[in-house]
Symmetry: C2
Subunit: 379 residues, 2 copies
């Protein structure tokens, strides 16, 4: 561990020439202002939501390692077709890492800042892939005694996204949920919430192995999109649960439309009268991820009462306001070691995060693989 005055920070840069460069810089730690603290970051996850900023549209199968042992550099090609979407960030070296946890090693002069000295805190606000992070007191969440940084590293993105799904369900008048890529860390969390809160949940997975993961943690409705009976299985689960709201991490392809089509069939099983416009029951799919970058293809066989749209955590939190946001955060802290426990397959240092062998694993973004970076780990 360093002295806190300077530390390594991971940077991602996409050049106008079409090259991605990920590197480690030595940066000076800022002096904390009155309402700020400096945190020694000891745990920060690689979430799918970080991945977009970390590698952008680059093709990571072209990744090459260079630089020194002390300062490794990864470069990769960004395909021509991907460059348009990168326009806003070209030639700008960007820090990465939405959330993390660590120990407060220095504070500003305010009482609120001083009260955090030595505490283990969870953090949100970006630039967490760094040894030291200076940030505002209200961007920190003090963790209960006996909580390690690794246990608190994923306090925000996944837990609040999962709770955001059940909150959205209630606010928009639905009674049950559908979730895709459902064996993910987030999906397992959502299962625990739904089991605890008595919310029927239909899990859509892409393999038998993923179905097994969910059955083991008590999931009741699991349907496998790789099965030849997928549409019938899904319709059956929707009929049983009455789910009319889905959260979809996949995005591209036909899945969102298939979910709407099966919802409509399930609803019409109880319909008494023919309506040329389909049922009057509103069916909604929110796309919150993009595991499949292909276009969304909606074959409109589901009447006129439907919606598909983007869903993001931070606009959702803005919408519900600070009081409800606080209620959700408090629940996360209360159930941090049970409902909201995250599991990591590997803990790496910043340098190891730039090791091509590790990149090859986490760049696949496969369900079940999850890396945690400890920027103050040796190696």
């Amino acid at each position: 561990m360093g002295d806190g005055k300077t530390g390594l920070q991971l940077r991602s840069l996409i050049k106008k020439s079409g090259e991605l460069e990920i590197s480690l810089l030595n940066v000076a730690t800022p002096e904390p202002a009155a309402d700020e603290v400096v945190v020694r970051v000891e745990a920060t996850p690689i979430n799918p939501s970080d991945f977009g900023l970390l590698v952008g549209a680059a093709d990571m199968t072209t990744a090459k390692a260079s630089g020194t042992n002390e300062h490794p550099v990864i470069t990769a090609k960004v395909p021509e077709a991907g460059m348009k979407a990168m326009a806003g960030r070209l030639d700008e070296s960007m820090p990465v890492g939405n959330e993390g946890a660590g120990v407060v090693i220095k504070t500003g002069s305010s009482d609120a800042a001083k009260a955090l000295m030595g505490k283990t805190v969870a953090m949100i606000g970006g630039a967490m892939y760094a040894q030291y992070r200076c940030l505002k007191v209200n961007e920190c969440l003090p963790l209960p005694d006996g909580t390690t940084p690794a246990e608190g590293a994923s306090c925000f993105v996944n837990p609040l996204t999962a709770l955001g799904m059940t909150e959205t369900m209630r606010r928009e008048g639905h009674k049950a949920l559908v979730h895709t890529a459902a064996a993910s860390n987030l999906g397992q969390m959502l299962n625990k919430i739904c089991l605890k809160d008595g919310i029927p949940l239909v899990n859509i997975v892409r393999s038998r192995e993923q179905a097994d993961i969910l059955h083991k943690i008590g999931a009741k409705h699991v349907v496998d999109s790789s099965s030849p009976t997928f549409m019938d299985d899904l319709t059956g689960a929707l009929t049983e649960t009455g789910a009319t709201l889905a959260f979809d991490a996949i995005g591209g392809g036909k899945l969102a439309g298939q979910i709407l089509a099966c919802m409509e069939i399930a609803i019409n099983k109880t319909a008494k009268v023919y309506s040329r416009y389909g049922s009057n029951v509103h069916k909604q799919v929110y796309i919150y991820g993009g595991l499949d970058p292909r276009p969304v293809e909606l074959n409109r066989t589901f009447g006129m009462a439907w919606g598909v749209g983007g869903w993001l955590l931070f606009p959702f939190l803005m919408k519900i306001g600070p009081v409800d946001g606080k209620r959700l955060r408090e629940r996360v802290i209360d159930e941090l070691k049970t409902t909201f426990a995250s599991h990591y397959t590997k803990v790496v240092s910043l340098r190891e995060a730039l090791d091509p062998a590790n990149i090859a694993i986490y760049a696949k973004r496969s369900t079940g693989e999850k890396f945690l970076i400890n920027p103050n780990k040796g190696g």
Copy 2:
């Protein structure tokens, strides 16, 4: 004209065998209950929204005429692929016609019903392709003196849909509108409303001729999707107007996604900071028609703040409630001969509506062609 005791009624039937049959039945006119009246229907339009019930998924290029001169019958094949969506109406003979106008020839015993005797009224509620229609007083809208049934025949669907678009815009916090298939009867109405109310409107058309129609009635922003510069033209119009809400009659293909993509580019022209999730400004496309039955294809280059969904008049009216609904209907009556004037290319009898030569024209559903049925016209 008949005696009012029995009259012709158009029926549409799709058989389990995959055959559409359109025919004219002689039906007895019901005795009006206390709060009902019998109207001699003299004008009822063939709207796109009627067409779905009239021919369903049938392929009208296979249409054949049979029956007698008095009772003509049209049959056509429903392609195998279209039968699934017809499941709810198989072997059920259905009356057709959302709206119309005519003269009250008999009333129930209530004062409200008696007050309508002899009046020309506009009607909503289905089964209007008939010589006589018995319906509730509150399904009638008395027309001002000097208004003909033909002038009042399209009081509801198009005018309230067009007003529903500007109402939705205001309620959902947008400042300008986009409309597709914009040279339609409805599209021209929307232009008149927007010009009168000072709402910036971007009209998307599919040909130079349609653009000319709109320029002639004073439309300011008209872009042609058949032009090679379409995306740039649309982005320019969106930048000028700030439109972030579109109503799309086309449905299938890439158009909805192109509109969202151009909205995002227009919004980001003023953005100061890179966000990997795109702009925070919500962009919405409501699909209210299905001129193109292909799947909707959304190439998500427009960030995460977006929505695409179905929009239907009647659920919208339910949502805004009776007070606001009344306000919209009153405006339609006030401006019936100006803003909300409909133009018909041909007036036909019920028998003529079943003439293959006429079907060949209105089945094309081309912009600018609009038929009016007068069920009490000879012929």
